[in-house]
Subunit: 348 residues, 4 copies
């Protein structure tokens, strides 16, 4: 059994790791740390885990992580970068769900996250953990930078179009919407039920931290510079991301039919265990992936115009965070890639 540790297990990605690992056949969660909740039973904070774990939060200084084979960081940005080097030195592999090691250009990271990066030397080694793009590199990695929730949906949705060079890379639009769990489990007026329920709004229109990550990923896929307009929105739902992507067919590709696009997407993802291309003409729903690691995608060319519209759904806490992290772990440890991630989504 692989011994797993979790740093920062009091947030939503932490409890989601525990929920998924509870039924993972090859894993023991042996340590979970939290400064604020040290000494408290995990199941006291998260009653859905009663009967599934006897774990107690421990102080990170207590050293419980040292006996782990792999440690997940489910922490706000800025935390992992100071602790990861010590763990790697002890031979422990690390999967960081935060943004700390996602952006290769340190200056860009420091600008968007508004703080100095204290561990730039590991950024180059970190593998960006999007298996559909980097599966081979993930296998041998010591340090995984798990992709952000929005960037996962946007990259997977644009991937076939950009790989194939069908659309103008400088004219991409990602209109995304996320459930409120994306804002984290922290006291905040703006995400109270009484503020967020029965409501919808955009936010971060002038610029959102996931934009540079999206740009970097799309550059990697397309091999050229890209121009992306990214507008996130806040949905009155708990879980789920829906990205509506718009791209413009190159003049030279205007004879690509909607059927061709459907075929392209099906071919591109046919071996992917967690990307499901929907039947032609159907629209994916966030609830169809609620609690599961699957990303579902549809592609359209409305009215035969020059726009390609791609619809992508994922669960922001699963394929957008903890599930993808476990998928990475499975690849790193040569387990079946779907281990622990096989349950269907909860619908209704």
């Amino acid at each position: 059994m692989i011994k797993v540790g979790i740093v920062g297990g009091t947030g939503y990605t932490g409890v989601e790791l525990l929920r998924l690992l509870a039924t993972h056949p090859n894993v023991d969660v042996t340590a979970i740390t939290s400064r604020g909740e040290a000494g408290r039973a995990v199941s006291d904070l998260f009653p859905n885990l009663r009967g599934h774990f006897d774990l107690v939060f421990t102080d990170p200084a207590a050293g419980d992580l040292d006996h782990c084979d792999v440690v997940f960081f489910a922490t706000p940005h800025g935390v992992a970068q100071s602790t990861v080097p010590g763990l790697l030195d002890k031979g422990i592999r690390v999967i960081d769900l935060s943004a700390d090691f996602r952006i290769r250009d340190i200056a860009i990271w420091e600008k968007w996250y508004n703080q100095p990066h204290v561990c730039p030397e590991l950024v180059g080694e970190a593998v960006y953990g999007l298996p559909e793009v980097n599966r081979e590199k993930i296998k041998g990695a010591r340090l995984i930078a798990c992709p952000g929730c929005y960037p996962t949906s946007v990259q997977l949705g644009f991937l076939p179009l950009l790989e194939k060079g069908l659309v103008e890379p400088g004219d991409l639009i990602a209109n995304s919407a996320s459930g409120a769990s994306g804002a984290g489990r922290q006291a905040n007026v703006a995400t109270l039920l009484a503020e967020t329920s029965d409501n919808f709004k955009a936010y971060g229109a002038p610029g959102h931290r996931h934009l540079p990550e999206i740009e970097q990923g799309l550059v990697d896929i397309s091999g050229s510079s890209v121009g992306v307009t990214f507008i996130p929105h806040l949905l009155p739902i708990i879980r789920g991301i829906h990205s509506t992507l718009y791209a413009t067919l190159k003049n030279s590709e205007m004879d690509t039919s909607e059927e061709d696009l459907q075929q392209l997407y099906e071919d591109c993802f046919k071996d992917e265990p967690f990307v499901d291309v929907m039947p032609a003409g159907s629209h994916p729903q966030t609830r169809s992936v609620r609690g599961s690691n699957t990303c579902r995608i549809s592609v359209f060319r409305p009215q035969g115009g020059d726009k390609v519209v791609v619809l992508v759904v994922e669960d922001n806490l699963v394929k957008g965070a903890s599930g993808q992290a476990i998928q990475n772990m499975n690849i790193m440890f040569d387990l079946p890639e779907t281990a622990g991630l096989e349950a269907p989504a909860l619908l209704p």
Copy 2:
């Protein structure tokens, strides 16, 4: 025009006072205070008020309240009691939406609110602002203690039964549920959308601060001691309280039919502008009073047993708080009791 001031206008009862007063024909809101938001435009905090008010929050120390005819306190408990005496001395009438002056027994107040009461001398003068019970006293009052949201629904629901002496006063159950706005506009993990949405739970089963207020009110109505079991619940909705009340018919009253009960309720409330007894057999819905000052009530005697079941709905921010406060103001200033409170509920 009556000059109105509001203390603590940054919470939900504050913005609700403003929403309702925006179309009140006899009122000018001339001052609104907030320590934390002094200098900020009200419409900046509450975008629904853009175009309706030019008001700016001012510091309470600035003295803007001194020119008001009446001041509403939309503050947490403990605030009004230290400021009210000074306003009354200046001849300003006060309507306190908080719990400060609701409980006549100071010791009980201090026990449940866990702090000393700094203005016990005014508690006796304060009129409990439930117009259906105290309309005459409200007319001449200087200081109104506006009822709590749960107590309003429970008292109105039990009122006809207790006045008439039909049920055992020692065997009353109030099973109530409130929307999340009842928890106020404050940063809090427990009322995040991601915690509260798609969820339901009881809370405060061992004891809730509204219990002594309910008991006092029911004693006043029944003229005898009462025994009440009160269990509040948290609904995943923004506004609305639903109380399901259970009482036991006295042995001597077992020949009271459901039709008799219906007639009793209709007679009792027939002159009340804000209590609507529903047709026999129908169930009131919280949305049927969303945004309105109306309380709707149904009464049943299931299977002809000894239990009377009363269903009561109100909007916790209107009849349960700000609307009732304005109703009190209308009575105090000899305005039509329904002034500013005439719009139908928002349904759907």
Copy 3:
């Protein structure tokens, strides 16, 4: 008092007309028709109207509409076109909330609505009731074709850009989302709470009936042909439309700053009672217009790129339907344009 009739008052736009007209100072609702509910009290179907109306649904054949000054059609498409001529002949003015008279090109109407149009001769006379564009024509109109909910938000959002010729009219994207009341009050599995709540999805990606209406309106505004990609989405909220609009600045207009755009929007709408341009940098929320006739708009130029992003919110049942219909009536009958529409939105 203007005598108002309503045809088809059992749906959401019908009850919304009644809710708004209940406090309109210049109107008496004298007739409301429904084949299915004839003989039933309106307040029996819509409990929020208890105490506000004594109206009973009557059969349309009973002739009650003949005594009205104006009749609103709150019916599915296909109904108004067969009844309107008779009313106009009697000198009764008509405001049709359905799609029957919105599209000037009969062939296009028949294609998208999949049925023959039985009253093409009145289509040319009908005035498209978007006051911000057609106020003068509305004044003298006998027949108003009230705009669709999505088209209202899209046209108002693009209006300043297209009037000024700043953006490429052939490269417009409207990414819109609507609350579930937009689907109407009809039994339907797809809009059950258990299907729609805690969920988000696009629909109609291959083509939606509001597309030709949007195109016609934008052509009228811009004076040129347009290309629009329109993707609607279903929100798990009751009321509210949010449109996120994307346009591409013309090469010749790339020196238009975000500040210039803000100024353009403020100038364009400064005399409009129901269009509110938000302060620079803010994001409108659907709840800020819940129950009100206001449309709120923000404009951005993210990262100084070539895209202009416009955010628009409205209540689909008010500015998107019944409120706009009343605004049209006010203009037609020379009443203050805001009569009956002055209450602030319900927030929270």
Copy 4:
């Protein structure tokens, strides 16, 4: 592998059976029938099952059920009673999730379900499938009548009190609330999101079909006659039942402390895999059992009065229906009782 058939797989209990059986280690679902959807892929109707099942709905007449070891009926009442005898004759065991075989008194069944019972001869043989009460009988049963959702929560909650004889059996109150999936997957105005969301109401106050089932179950447990007042409510959530139960301590048992009650509940359920007695003082939440077969219970004696208050939560589609059905199957086929039911609830 046990070969499983499902009749009526197009409703919520049907898709929930499939979701849970997808990861059950000992089961193959070999047939699923639906008259209306025959020929359609299951995953077409329920996109969460894409990739998990290749099943196609078949007509019940096609005989696919004949090769099953066990057949689940996820049908409306009235269907199973006409088909079950034929299956039993072929040696196929049956687990009926509908109400057809729950009530032993045929006359009572016919009164509440308002139709003649066509298979009274099997009612006596059917075992009421509440494992916490009837585990031994379930083992050998050919026909299981799976309990209703509300009755499961009410019986489990009152069980320790009634078994021990601590409370007055004639004075029981069950105030219950259910998510909207309890109303089934059928087109219906009353459960549209626009009608049910942001709303709360009681229904069935004069009498609900689950009342006789609750009464029968409580009589079985207590060994005496009972008096129950049962008021169900409709929650604006998808899944979840919360029952707030009130009982009155017998005079002779007034020295039973809250600690005694806590101990009683913990002892009573200590060997039950799917009943979790919460720590003293805590309140169970419906989300803590979302998607899981667990029932969580808390017990209180507020203010030391004569009322015992029991709070019970379950997922109406799992422990209240499909999960409990699988638990019964596990017992019948001598599998581990928790097989296929081990995943934690989905929280948040």
